[in-house]
Symmetry: C2
Amino acid sequence: MSLTDTAPPPSTSAAAPATPDPNGPGQVTTGPLRGSQKVYTSPAGRPDMRVPFRDIALDPSAKEAPLRVYDTSGPYTDPAIEIDVRRGLPPVRASWLAARGFETVTPRAIRPEDNGHAEGAYLVQPCPAPHAVYKARPDQLVTQYEFAKAGIITDEMIYVAHRENLGRQQAAEGAAERMKDGQSFGAAIPEFVTPEFVRDEIARGRAIIPANINHPELEPVIIGRNFLVKVNANIGNSAITSSAAQEVEKLVWAIRWGADTVMDLSTGRNIHNIRDWILRNAPTPIGTVPMYQALEKVGGDVSKLDWPVFRDTLIEQAEQGVDYFTIHAGVRLAHVPLTANRVTGIVSRGGSIMASWCLNGHRESFLYEHFEEICDIMRAYDVSFSLGDGLRPGSIADANDAAQFAELETLGELTEIAWAKGCQVMIEGPGHVPMHKIKENMDKQLRDCKEAPFYTLGPLTTDIAPGYDHITSAIGAAMIGWFGTSMLCYVTPKEHLGLPDRNDVKTGVITYKIAAHAADLAKGHPAARLRDDALSRARFSFRWEDQFNLSLDPDTACAYHDETMPREAHKTAHFCSMCGPKFCSMRISHDLKDEALRLKGMEEKSEEFRQAGGKVYVPAAE
Amino acid sequence: MSLTDTAPPPSTSAAAPATPDPNGPGQVTTGPLRGSQKVYTSPAGRPDMRVPFRDIALDPSAKEAPLRVYDTSGPYTDPAIEIDVRRGLPPVRASWLAARGFETVTPRAIRPEDNGHAEGAYLVQPCPAPHAVYKARPDQLVTQYEFAKAGIITDEMIYVAHRENLGRQQAAEGAAERMKDGQSFGAAIPEFVTPEFVRDEIARGRAIIPANINHPELEPVIIGRNFLVKVNANIGNSAITSSAAQEVEKLVWAIRWGADTVMDLSTGRNIHNIRDWILRNAPTPIGTVPMYQALEKVGGDVSKLDWPVFRDTLIEQAEQGVDYFTIHAGVRLAHVPLTANRVTGIVSRGGSIMASWCLNGHRESFLYEHFEEICDIMRAYDVSFSLGDGLRPGSIADANDAAQFAELETLGELTEIAWAKGCQVMIEGPGHVPMHKIKENMDKQLRDCKEAPFYTLGPLTTDIAPGYDHITSAIGAAMIGWFGTSMLCYVTPKEHLGLPDRNDVKTGVITYKIAAHAADLAKGHPAARLRDDALSRARFSFRWEDQFNLSLDPDTACAYHDETMPREAHKTAHFCSMCGPKFCSMRISHDLKDEALRLKGMEEKSEEFRQAGGKVYVPAAE
């Protein structure tokens, strides 16, 4: 196979059971990305560990090795792995977990309310993939944080160090210069990532590896500001629409385009069983908001919520393997009146539920009051905290107000409690924030939450563009990522208007990959620019196929090109449809590059230039 | 008609001649935007002057006056004006210009090469709208800059002051606070804009009103960093595709969505006559790159370019009424070798043409050498300079390099020469620039070019997302707009891949309106937030129609909403498809707002909260 053969188009395959379940998952998208090949490499001394990457082949004329990129897509893009969503993914962590001596426990029995009392044809069957349930004893190390504090480097730490190191060897030349060239705002990105560096960052609370011991299918990911900026995609059905099949495919689709983690925000019926299908087929960390299911269990009546039903839900989901929980424990009774004069009140679902609960009985939040017990439950499975920003601003008018910041201060308190209990923690952030107020959020979060990773939604920099809020928020996301946010929660074009469909999910993910990458570049990440430079060289050399394949979305790039110049010959044309052959600046620039170089080398000519150029002459940079 | 009646959908109308010319303009989009009505108001003491705005009607339940917004769409959205593109637009400046005593001259005769030797059926006929040609004598004031320096306030200055003042009366309460709240990076945005302030800004060279005396159809616009950030849209055919009809409709379409100025970058045949149709039907300033046509006239052979053919082209286009010219006079022979080691060489068409010309004969740029003569020609018609950045970086690897900055320094020199000659000047900027290098561009431009307005393309903050470069660049555009750029040149999704079609033009314009508005907000513009707040109030009150109509693109917002909840009843539903009725945070938040307010007002309860909240309590902001 020649380097320029492109991969076959993705197919939907292999997943349908003999008699398809109309409510169960059907088919998912498999096959490599255009021009790409899945590869695995192993950390030094760990031949058993296969860390996935993606090699983008380049035209032989480039005389460049394939460009290797970070790969979130899981086994779905590996033609060598047969996908059957009923069997679930290969449990890559199984041997690591087995070595840690956890007890296998009898899982909590499924109850009708776990699936919203769905029955008969309306009940989605659970995923048949086998799944034993681990639980740690109080006296044994279980969380990545506990191992890190104890000075122990876990398999997950070795894995993510290798994964994050991508390109750094290749980038070694000039890396120091690029890091110096960037503006890191106090981040401490290393030239090379060692497992010990990972351990140290986790022990400091500056990074987390969300990795439930009941999620053996996970390909571990690290979230922290001294690592690559990550992207989360939200999926989930609602009472109005969606099915299990759609949700599993949305997961596969989101990670295909680069989502590092996925949150299942389902709120409708079958919530337990859909989550089962998602987890058994998820190579990425999965997050949830347990409050949504707890509220379903009490029929949507906020006044009936209480600690027992919430506690039960935490255990239910922890046993399934959810890697991080959004817990809105920072919404306290005393904070609610601070929202009274807001333009848009409380816009977080979890926040409004808890505010309503607090006001209902005029009592303190049960999440706040039971926070230590929540920690004990989450620690036993290593479920990471994502401390929710229930009072995030829903309009720029409400940005950085007393309610938002009071909650953030509470989250800082809770962070220290969670650490003391051995848990991993990240902090959720806004929301709607105009550009000039973004940095204040980041700075306050770092200070109040002692550098625990920040995980922000956007922020949206203006309220006036529903239908385009992936863009209003990408502006804010790129900036806050640069300033120090560790993970960006995507926003799709449907934000504020409806549920994202397949196209919206892709648009949201690609948009946020742009924001995350722009942040990596600006922070001075030593290897981030390799892909930009490879693509720009391809562009300047009119290697159109390489330009498409190196892009975040090769299919769209190629389709746009083909709209005006569909013929294959034009894929090698030394011009494009924008300018036509006569006005192509790159063609002209090529023609004169050799001469410019010759001139540059000729000392005599250079002297003439200096005289001709007078005071505006600037010596050529080397 | 009730306030909530929505406007009829836009129609394509009224423009077709009895026997349609297959190469001439056909139909253009007319009719008001959804829920909007065109209105005109007059500056104090000038009842003859009708400055256009757009009123967005709100539901009676809002108890709010219609929201008035800046309007770039020209007569096309005014049902009271009959559009006939053969007759052109009403010459709103005719009486102002007539009073200035300019000579009417016999225009330069059209030559076959002006239209690329198009003949017969291939020749687009000129626009039949009558058009007398003015030219100023050397001894009379003609440019806005000259009037401003002489202490004279022109009609155009009065017009733009009124236009820019929109909302400031309404915003007066709290305006000072908002301005203080923003971060202006040294801009000096006034609480109210007076004609004298406009004059002073123009006299300082900090703002321009591109307004050729041969473009009487123009609704004047001011470009400067102490005014609203503006957006330019590029249109234009190429040798490969497009026709006159498409180009006029692209103009109308671009300004419908908010483009403040439009550049006609045509390079194919019929270039003169297509421009004729565009100018006679353009209420916005029109810019061009005269070099493109000059090169057409010499058959695309760069070596045949010379001063006479360029000079002839300047006069030809100035007589037609082009408002600003991109002139790449900063690309000097001495700069070309500085590009030799770049990743992407020279990516500006004009830049590569001039670099090629310089290297060809190893001689200094004729644009640089004849710069004073260029000034004399442009002054006589008040064509503004847009000093081109021919050496802008085409990849982030080349950002802020010696070539780019050497050219920028030359542009600073040329700015002072142009001012001395009485001309208005703005400066074009990059390009591809990672986030951490954007501010350096702005700061250097302000310093080297003495605060002449900056007009930037993007910048694109990463190279890896062809197909999404409206987004990679919107991030940079919002930031550089905040830092001080006066006008943002849009980038469409087709950048680097193909010519933008109608949808791409709209996407590009809306994306850049987002960036410009985000910048206005961050700078602390006293009235910018009015629209955000109105939309957020509508959102919080479930006034869906108001939310759509207040958005930058009401059609898309409504269409997205209707995808999941198409029924009319859902337009007033107190929830949306994202969460369903049970989980709607806004609904819950509404339910508890009254109670929260009541609690807030009760001193006794507040005291309880203070005790309950302990140290995290923060007093409610007023």
